[in-house]
Symmetry: none
């Protein structure tokens, strides 16, 4: 089993959409050198699957119910520093990308990338290199020039909650989704408003939209 590296790259797929996982699995396995050895549909299960299968690369979507995907990254990296994690998501906000790399990700690829680019990123990550898709590089480049966004003053959790909220989720839904008490979500809501200076929920939504946190 430990000879997998000699015959190819073993992959753990983490995504909450079953059909998406199945699709990726087929795409990756058609490559010959990539083998999906396990799947997980939430962050909590991700580490268990990682431990059980010791894959060369973890490919995961960070937007999942339950614990945050960033949490999963930290979780895995904390116990297995040699783990290679490739974030694969539809989001392309600079804050998220930086948070992911900060949490220990080795790569960040958006779903709008060409399959060949994704596969290339997996191989690069497996070799221990850092990888990111062109659009992500572009976003990071833009961001590095113009710092000082309102989002910079917000913590990771605050941004996550703001995203959910601006997306139209109720306090209860957010609390359930993130496994927090309603009270905590309310407090974050308030905190975010004071930090950003928004007096109204509507202003908050507009703010989130202009920062690219949510699309309307």
């Amino acid at each position: 089993m430990s000879e997998v590296a000699a015959t190819g790259i073993s992959v753990l797929l983490v995504d909450d959409h079953p059909i998406v996982r199945q699709g990726y699995r087929r795409v990756l396995e058609s490559q010959g050198d990539l083998h999906v050895v396990a799947e997980a549909d939430n962050a909590a299960d991700a580490y268990g699957a990682f431990k059980a299968h010791d894959p060369d690369v973890v490919v995961l979507d960070i937007s999942m119910p339950g614990a945050s995907g960033l949490e999963a990254i930290r979780n895995i990296r904390a116990r297995s520093p040699r783990a290679r994690i490739l974030v694969f998501t539809m989001h392309n906000e600079a804050v998220l990308v930086k948070a992911a790399f900060g949490a220990g990700a080795s790569g960040f690829v958006t779903k709008s990338s060409e399959p060949s680019a994704v596969v290339g990123a997996i191989r690069a990550v497996a070799r221990g290199e850092r990888a990111m898709s062109d659009d992500i590089a572009h976003v990071l480049a833009e961001d590095s020039l113009s710092s000082g966004s309102v989002l910079d003053q917000l913590g990771e959790r605050e941004i996550e909650i703001l995203r959910q909220f601006a997306g139209g989720a109720t306090t209860e839904q957010i609390a359930a989704y993130l496994n927090l008490s309603v009270k905590t979500v309310q407090n974050y809501h308030y905190l975010i408003k004071t930090k950003t200076g928004a007096r109204t929920d509507a202003q908050l939504v507009r703010l989130a939209a202009t920062c690219g946190l949510t699309r309307i």
Copy 2:
């Protein structure tokens, strides 16, 4: 080439994520009776691809950059009323679902559905039936309590107040601006929410934005 229908179901895949398309393609083709005859990565190209390949079913994600997926549905249906379109997306808001069916979709399935459910929906749609995943049925059922076509049901005053609110104005500001009591504005706020089915201020803002009531 025109005998595809006799040997199975031809499918046009429309999704802006290349690897997602490729994944779906493999999942569908593994079914034996489903054949992906074309792909498109945006709403604008969808009709061209439809015309060129005349697929039995169009499977498309409505959340795409550029022209709306709803636009694509209308586009196709306007010129080819016999087209069968299955919306396949991660969104599950009632407004979207109703808009999709209103635009002429034959089915609506979320990406969190089991692959078997998705495949079943494609077959059902190909047979001319209407199809939707369980979660969508649930969302619509909830929503059917307060049906209606979103903005048309609002009066002049309600629309004016919604515009102000979505623009970021506070209740007091609106009341002062329109020479109304705060209480009246609050009541309108509530009325608008119930009429539109928005459960959250954020949803209200998004609604106003999508209706062109406010710019962000």
